[in-house]
């Protein structure tokens, strides 16, 4: 393989590892915070930071190395201390980890923050309580080195003696031996290195830094691998299992995204091809032939399996995204001085990697908004009889072929009067306009509207929800808002599960072939006239409703809605698809015929050009023609207003 810049590749790998290590670090802290941690958790924290430090030193990121080193020292103290860290200490560590993550990001962007003052000023509390930074060491002549060689150090023909004597040459050393790790005599393996040293050297800082750098260059591999438990990339699994009792991560490989994408495209073409073949077969008299038939069935099954597996490659848990959001939540809460608890649910939910990446920005906006605008100040909360700490809930779940990401807060809810006033003064709506709650909520997404009374550091500069909404739309998703005064606000983002395939029902309406997601359809039925109720509307027309079980749901004539043909007057015997949302029937869609049920490959419509809102995407059918994919939720009149819940009052009349 040609590697024009081997160091660049290694560096990229290091940063990838850093992300995983940071994640592991935060996981550990979360565990401790919930009271579920053990001493092993603290050890794991230490190892994560140590691995970051080692890597950073190898690549010469001095600022990062220094901070990680100080953090490592703090953790060493915690580790030696027999009690688990207190909540206050955990919160400091969380902030320290935020700072560490910021340093990693800075290093990745090529601006290693070397300035010790930066490092110090960013973590003053940490310094006071935990002495995470080097503190006095920085100015005075003392440095502390934590030496933990690899367990297989001797097998690699290396020795610690040189290291220790080198240090002795730099300055006066105070050496403490840590023999905690030495096992009992029964399990003792004399070929394994079990000792660690804590060495305080009296000298100038720079030679120590230099020395550490040199040692890492020379001893690098040995020193690094000693503690690498966390990275899931197990190049030498046997070594890994020998070093620790921590759970062995699964073997993984890193593959360029581009290659995966190419494969996904090819598989997509294969699926279309398979459909074409099946269609061609139907046109011949070969269908009676059992061998052909079963062969084709096998082909179908294999294609589907292949497609599922390929899609899984791209799917990744939303956890890293959530972790990042937790960090942003903490930072924001700190800035605006509102204590906020973040609850995360469904972090294991898997979404397409591209979707995750493109969710970061909108979600960041939303979290900031929730903390800054959503949650009230503590005294106001107390006055309202709520806990002083605000609660923000971030939740991801799969629902009917979609991924839902929900962000809810228990704040004051949308101040609709204020939103309306603001919109009036900014000329977005006319004075004294009479708007429904849903319409007012929709104003939040209007460019240039901000409800915060003061422009803060965090938000309120008038960019926000409209940007969020367009980002979500660009992903083929929808953004919905629900708010109850005094009880909080909930934003839900509904996203397509993948950007690639869909289990669908292919239907015909007035000669047009259309595709509906199978997951949205609960039932198909023939309409009886007795089931239909007609209601006049204010605009002079009428609205038809269908009695379905114990409910009344709106009827939507698909061909009429899409402008293909006028609304049919007689619904007797017409075919209706009952569309459900969260197990609640929301509408009946009238169509002409059901053609088939099949998996289709989703093709995006270019640049989202202005089309009917219910046209979500397109697909290519077996005959090579394009069929449009209809989003049935957008067809429902209630959802068009932006709230999925609006259908409820109507539905309850049944």
């Amino acid at each position: 393989m040609r590697q024009p810049e081997p160091m660049a590749d290694l560096r990229a790998t290091f940063f990838d590892e850093c992300d995983e290590l940071m994640e592991a670090f935060q996981d550990g802290l979360d565990d401790l915070g919930r009271g579920g941690g053990t001493h092993e958790t603290v050890h794991a924290l230490f190892r994560s930071v140590h691995s970051i430090k080692s890597g950073a030193a190898t690549f010469g990121f001095d600022g990062l190395t220094k901070y990680a080193h100080n953090l490592e020292n703090t953790l060493t103290r915690l580790r030696n201390d027999k009690s688990l860290p207190s909540l206050a200490e955990i919160s400091d560590l969380l902030r320290a980890s935020d700072h560490l993550a910021a340093l990693v990001t800075a290093a990745r962007q090529g601006s290693d923050v070397c300035d010790a003052h930066d490092t110090q000023s960013a973590a003053p509390e940490n310094a006071r309580k935990l002495d995470i930074r080097r503190g006095a060491d920085e100015q005075s002549d003392a440095a502390s080195v934590h030496l933990k060689p690899a367990t297989d150090l001797w097998k690699q023909g290396l020795s610690c003696r040189e290291v220790l004597s080198d240090l002795g040459a730099i300055g006066q050393c105070e050496v403490r031996l840590d023999d905690d790790a030495i096992p009992t005599i029964e399990t003792y393996d004399p070929e394994q290195m079990m000792l660690t040293w804590q060495i305080d050297v009296t000298c100038h800082t720079s030679p120590i830094e230099e020395w550490i750098g040199k040692q890492h260059a020379a001893l690098g591999l040995a020193m690094n691998t000693a503690d690498q438990v966390v990275p899931p990339e197990v190049k030498q699994p046997e070594r890994n299992s020998a070093t620790t009792a921590a759970p062995t991560p699964k073997a993984t490989i890193r593959v360029e995204l581009e290659r995966v994408d190419r494969m996904i495209n090819l598989v997509g073409e294969l699926v279309i091809n398979q459909a074409m073949l099946a269609q061609t077969m139907e046109g011949t008299d070969l269908t009676g032939n059992l061998a052909y038939g079963s062969g084709l069935d096998d082909f179908l099954r294999l294609t589907r399996d292949l497609q599922d597996s390929v899609m899984q490659i791209r799917a990744q848990p939303v956890k890293p995204l959530f972790m990042r959001m937790a960090r942003i939540c903490r930072e924001t809460a700190h800035t605006v001085e509102k204590p906020v608890d973040l609850i995360m649910e469904g972090a294991d939910t898997e979404i397409d990697k591209t979707v995750i990446e493109r969710l970061t920005e909108p979600l960041t906006h939303m979290i900031r908004n929730a903390v800054d605008h959503g949650i009230e100040p503590p005294d106001q909360r107390k006055a309202a009889g709520k806990a002083a700490n605000g609660t923000i809930k971030l939740r991801a779940l799969h629902r009917s072929g979609q991924v839902i990401v929900e962000l809810s807060d228990d704040g004051a809810g949308i101040d609709r009067a204020s939103v309306q006033r603001k919109a009036e003064t900014q000329g977005i709506i006319g004075p004294n306009a009479r708007l429904s709650d849903a319409e007012i909520d929709a104003l939040l997404f209007h460019p240039g509207l901000s409800t915060a009374k003061t422009v803060s550091d965090v938000s309120g500069r008038g960019v926000g929800m409209d940007v969020v909404r367009s980002a979500i739309h660009a992903l083929g998703g929808r953004l919905m808002v629900e708010s109850r005064p005094g009880q909080g606000t909930r934003f839900s983002i509904a996203l397509p599960l993948t950007l690639a395939v869909l289990d669908s029902m292919i239907i015909g309406a007035q000669g047009h072939t259309l595709v509906l997601p199978l997951s949205a359809i609960r039932e198909t039925l023939h309409v009886r006239p007795s089931q239909v109720v007609e209601l006049p509307t204010s605009s002079g027309g009428s609205r038809r409703l269908l009695r379905y079980n114990d409910r009344v749901i709106p009827i939507c004539d698909l061909a009429d809605e899409l402008g293909f043909s006028p609304r049919r007057s007689d619904l007797d015997g017409a075919l209706a698809l009952i569309v459900t949302h969260e197990d609640t029937a929301t509408s009946a869609i009238i169509i002409d015929e059901i053609l088939e049920q099949r998996q289709v490959v989703i093709k995006g419509l270019q640049d989202g050009f202005a089309t009917h809102p219910c046209i979500a995407a397109a697909t290519i059918l077996g005959d090579g023609r394009i069929a449009l994919i209809v989003d049935p939720y957008e067809l429902t009149p209630a959802t068009a207003q932006g709230s999925t819940q609006a259908a409820v009052p109507l539905a309850q009349t049944g």
């Binding site: 899409l562 640049d607 050009f609 394009i626």
Partner: protein, 153 residues
């Protein structure tokens, strides 16, 4: 292409006929020329959007050029031709009656349309190209998708 002295370089145009009139586009914008296939109608789009077709696995929007230019009562037929254009990183097709020729034209032969015409034609025709016996309208393809927010995102 030399950007500094455009006047010196002859430019190449693809000329085509539509409703008995002669038009041309810069050949650099043309990706390919295809026969007519019935497109899939796209609801909620302006009347000049015929729909979308499958161009080797991608979804290609097709504009009825005659309708777009305001040439009334001119329908597409089985004998129409689709010219696939890529403008400003967006690809779309336009329907024409027939592709005529590839012309190499001296920039001196290209004149801006007279005042007042521009307004009427919404800027679709950016220039007129005078050849021996005919006058060809030079289309500026980007206006087809940007004017009136046609396919604007």
């Amino acid at each position: 292409m030399n950007q500094d002295s455009p006047a010196m370089n002859p430019i190449e145009l693809l000329s085509f006929g539509l409703a008995g009139q002669a038009y041309a586009v810069d050949i650099m914008a043309v990706r390919e020329i295809r026969g007519w296939v019935e497109p899939t109608a796209l609801p909620g789009t302006p009347d000049y959007v015929c729909g979308v077709i499958n161009l080797r696995g991608t979804v290609l929007p097709i504009l009825n050029l005659a309708t777009r230019l305001g040439l009334e009562a001119h329908q597409v037929s089985d004998r129409s031709v689709v010219i696939v254009l890529t403008v400003a990183s967006r690809t779309f097709g336009i329907t024409v009656d027939a592709v005529s020729d590839i012309l190499t034209v001296d920039p001196a032969a290209i004149q801006p349309p007279p005042d007042g015409v521009q307004e009427h034609s919404k800027g679709f025709v950016s220039a007129l190209c005078l050849l021996d016996d005919q006058m060809i309208r030079l289309l500026s393809p980007d206006t087809l998708i940007t004017q009136d927010g046609a396919l604007a995102a």
